[in-house]
Symmetry: D2
Subunit: 384 residues, 4 copies
């Protein structure tokens, strides 16, 4: 195939954060071209976004169903190859479903849906469609996260005993949802965000990261949710004790009211033979401590790293890569897969999160919500 | 008073760790002289320790009751001014009681006793005796911990919302208690350590630190204890969710099986106006982040610090002080108080942990042990 | 203007490092489209690169003069708006000149030329052409570097007394230029790199950074060059003492043979009222220490930063940006300027390095080379 | 020998910094007892210091010659075993000489003397006396410095290519010598400090550290001295380029006017096989980077360290030791040697700086002073 992939986008209009991130991630490597979009259900806002992005006005929509329909009816050498869904959570399922049913591949932001039930239904849609579905759990795109996974898989940590995952932020310490901050407004609104704010938005990243690296499944958990800001309808702080299948224990704490914290996702994994630590705000480094030996710091871009960590690296060591590059790694891998489909090449193993990760993530969120409301210490992980 | 204080010691013989620390802490500032000791119940071992420490053999004992008796019967210008109790936990109460009853002041290692009941009884003994009782919760001796307390007290953090306290270690990852490691042997033995290993030995430091800095009391907690090393009788990993009186929440996790962790006590405190973070392995620094402003790093030895932080500082900024100096700060303050007693000077406010902190600490440990065994999520903090 | 800018590229074929960086930087923000290129003087290699980049084969060249000619003869709505020059150093001047003479704007990698004489001539060409010339001293694109500049300009450091700039790398510790490493081969070859390797390639970045932030000019310098790897023709380690006009002193050391160093550019600036420190490998943070106050850490993405630092920021605080984003900031600012030219809008103040910075940089390199060969302590800075 | 060593002290009265450090270092391990002193030439001040230190007034002097005489005439079981000299620099030689001539061992602060000539003469005195002479280049007492030395000696760095040593401080940024700050007053006074302030006081530590770890001798150096504070008679900033015998190069910069810097001594050593970095303000860690492998952080207190690093360690890993403990390591080793002399045991290899290090240090200072005044680039290292 001798052309860029053609991307459509739903969501990501004025005031959006994640829409712009998806666009930069898609742009970075020159493999993908944005050609169509439904950036807002308000036609003026959608049109303005399309113009700012140099799109053909004919391919700027304000109704996602109309967009799916219209794009599907375009000739094969014009229509989009896939759509990126970057709306608030409650719209992920309807939008993705509309495009899947028209035969498009889908890239979708997380959490995958607003409810576990929707997630299960979406999984069915994906299976029926035969299309690709890529969930942008972007932190798994970091090369040093790949390296962490490789260290665990290779047995260098021995048996995993304990996982400490954190995701503190401070941006919701004040009730900015009442001051017109769009991001805050929908994330704290049960109608758009779902049943959880802090765990849904960020705690779920921490859980996903732990599972991505270790492969461990949660057996039961104990959650403590607090809503610190008066009038807010969803929790802005969530802390969990975890039991993993196989005997490991976990602590997962997340917060949106922790003053001074920016986006401080981190994970520490302790095994019988050593431990790992990774901090998202310093993503080019991975601490690896083999038991009884000096601590090691592995850095992105070095020849001693595993193949997956080297594959998703653009710059030599010491030239730092960061959030957008990790996000773009999900897009790169999605693009490779979509390209194979377009070219009729047989499926290859690809390294990106799928609809199954999305279902699992929703089960995690709903288990945590149930536990937070329960007087029992342990709530079993919801089957899905 | 124109002389050094005279110290006796019970415990701290061959193979001890904390006995040597107490001696260095007492030596450092030239205010205290070790003159007598009962270092072991084995006469040969006690004698050997006394000789290594250049003591008069006549004042080296192998029975602490005999020591209390003998020292009390010496002339006032010879006998010890106070005793340091550095035995395993189960002996703290009997030894302290014996010396209190003979009129001696007592410095005692933590946890104060093996049970809450003993702790309450010891508090009664202290009250009856009129003597001073100093508990070496040594981490409160660090100048930057004093500074943290001052920042909270002064209202610079606003209302406290969340506390994250950690104490991971890795030294008990193998069953070294079976290989003759004395420290491991008694700490994992219920008969000598009490009902908890990980929370009793180190989690209690984390709780004490949180309470020392914030003054907050726990309302209820939810504990998850695990014993990872087969055959061990007490937990080697303990994780807690906490509710504080007044509405703050907490996460406290501690471990002795976390490979690569050395003595990584830390505390982060989040309030409505800002946050603090302190890491014991880098004790000369305190991170203070006022909401919406650049992060600040306060460093020991600077004029901008509070009086308490400046008082307990020996060296100019950049000449690091560490564990022994912090420990010695407890001794310095204890010595000042004992000196006042000896001199007949009226009591002044002193900045060291007391028998009340010891009772509180035991209530914390027993609440955690009870919660760990309970199926209910929240266990109310034990009154004492 | 309602379209992306059209970019051509000269250099950046197979084995190139910086060509790919320029492309990612140009792609990131969706403002620029690569439409033509002369990636190699070998037609096959150039063609292959063009195909990999999805270019129209008709606009892939193997002779840069031919490319300048051909593009200039295309209709205005097709031809490139500007060219990016990413060849080895010795080709910068001839390529840039060819395109300037055809009326194209130029973005050029650094050092600007192979000799100071060439640089002066190129400055004349730029002036004659009336076109824009943008030098990609990319480290000045970092938001926290802008913030550092603002702190100095605002007087918060007082008078500058001392600057310590470092640029250690380790990648040339072995003679990899003899093993087919293209980057190493041309950088250590006087015919392609010019009269200096270590100072020319990286020391010049450190000097540029110091000057960008402080505005200080060097009065005289004392250089010590060493070639550690046998057979190498240019220095692989260069260390300088500096006297700045106005009385400040400097230390600048750079190396390509420092094992374990990756790309460790840093700068520390000391004034009468405070100091600054910035480390390229952790670019989202800037240390600012007002005299007598706690150290402050300023982080990218926060409201307390200056306008320039906020302007060149894409993500919220804590979502790290890095090397490519900083590089893209140069492209963003260049694009804005070129767009104004295309739109016939009057020139606005723009924040990117120009041909004057390029001439200054070459004067620095040649002064350092002269000093390294001299027995006198101080060599006056070459006028240009 | 079944007693503590008896120490006398000259210097260290009210307002002194280093006197108190020597006393704490001597106290720490319970091996040494301060029994006599001449703390000031002002009898009242000396007496007051003696009283504060609980000394017998009969052994508090205000004339060091009288003290040497008087102590020498005491019975062997009373008189001091050695003297610690902690006066300003210009008094080191006369005081040390007086005590050497009376047969006492000497511990002396650095720089050893005020001039190289004095240093050579003192070396002769030491040799004639047969007594021990211990120079407190205290930074060599840090366990991780011993470890660094071991790594170099064992060949793990290969051939040393480059050394970067820094010692920035900021405490003399204002002319506090005019405000009654005693430390500043004598250090900036040529009559008491000698011919150099910044290099003499702290640059000499950096040079000593480099030599201690690598064993490399300087062949020639190029120094740039600046006096930033008006009216000051000695330099407050000193930067050097260095050539080592055997081909290594060096950069050594030191400053006392660098705002925000506290006591930021550091050293980085680059060899053909790897590199090391150590930072005095975080002394429990040593960075070791074998070429092509992950960076390693070695931490004090671990079994994987060399014997010398383990020998000079009092606490388990993670319980930080710092400045006083390192200083005390010099005293411990001196005490062991003195004890052997007292006991008539044959001399053993001891790990502390000697009179030869002192002579070397003075040669370094005088070479730097000569270079700073020279127009030639390179000044050969002074023979002594």
């Amino acid at each position: 195939m001798t052309r860029r992939l053609r991307m459509g986008m739903v969501g990501g209009g004025p005031g959006s954060f994640i829409g712009g991130v998806h666009r930069m991630a898609a742009n970075l490597d020159g493999q993908i071209e944005l050609v169509a979009g439904c950036f807002s259900s308000d036609p003026d806002r959608s049109r303005q976004s399309g113009a700012d992005l140099f799109l053909d006005p004919a391919r700027v929509y304000s109704d996602f169903c109309e967009m799916a329909e219209a794009e599907a009816s375009l000739p094969a050498d014009l229509r989009i190859d896939f759509v990126s869904v970057v709306t608030p959570n409650h719209m992920h399922a309807p939008v993705a479903t509309a495009f899947l049913r028209k035969g498009f591949h889908v890239v979708c932001d997380k959490p995958m849906t607003a409810t576990l039930q929707e997630a299960v239904a979406l999984r069915d849609e994906v299976e029926k469609s035969g299309s690709l579905f890529v969930l942008t759990h972007n932190y798994t795109g970091y090369p040093m996260v790949k390296q962490a996974r490789e260290i665990v898989r290779s047995g260098e940590l021995g048996d995993i005993l304990k996982i400490v995952a954190e995701y503190p932020q401070g941006w919701l310490l004040d009730s900015i949802e009442n001051d017109g901050q769009k991001q805050a407004a929908w994330r704290t609104d049960p109608a758009r965000a779902g049943s959880s704010c802090c765990i849904g938005d960020i705690g779920s990243h921490a859980e996903n990261l732990a599972r991505h690296i270790t492969g461990l499944d949660i057996e039961a958990l104990c959650a403590h949710f607090t809503t610190f800001v008066p009038g807010r309808l969803l929790e802005d702080d969530g802390n969990l004790l975890l039991k993993y299948r196989g005997g490991a224990v976990g602590v997962l704490h997340s917060s949106q009211i922790s003053a001074g914290e920016e986006n401080n996702l981190s994970i520490r994994i302790y095994g019988t033979k050593g431990s790992l630590a990774w901090y998202q705000e310093h993503p080019n480094e991975l601490a690896f401590q083999p038991k009884g030996e000096p601590a090691r710091t592995l850095r992105r871009g070095n020849p001693y790293l595993c193949e997956a960590a080297k594959k998703f690296t653009r710059l030599p060591a010491g030239h730092p890569e960061a959030f957008i590059e990790a996000f773009a790694n999900i897009y790169l891998e999605a693009a490779a897969d979509i390209r194979d489909r377009v070219d009729g090449v047989p499926s290859r193993a690809r390294d990106y999160p799928t609809v199954d990760d999305g279902v699992h993530g929703m089960a995690f969120i709903e288990t945590a919500v149930a536990s937070a409301a329960s007087e029992s210490k342990w709530t079993p992980f919801l089957a899905a």
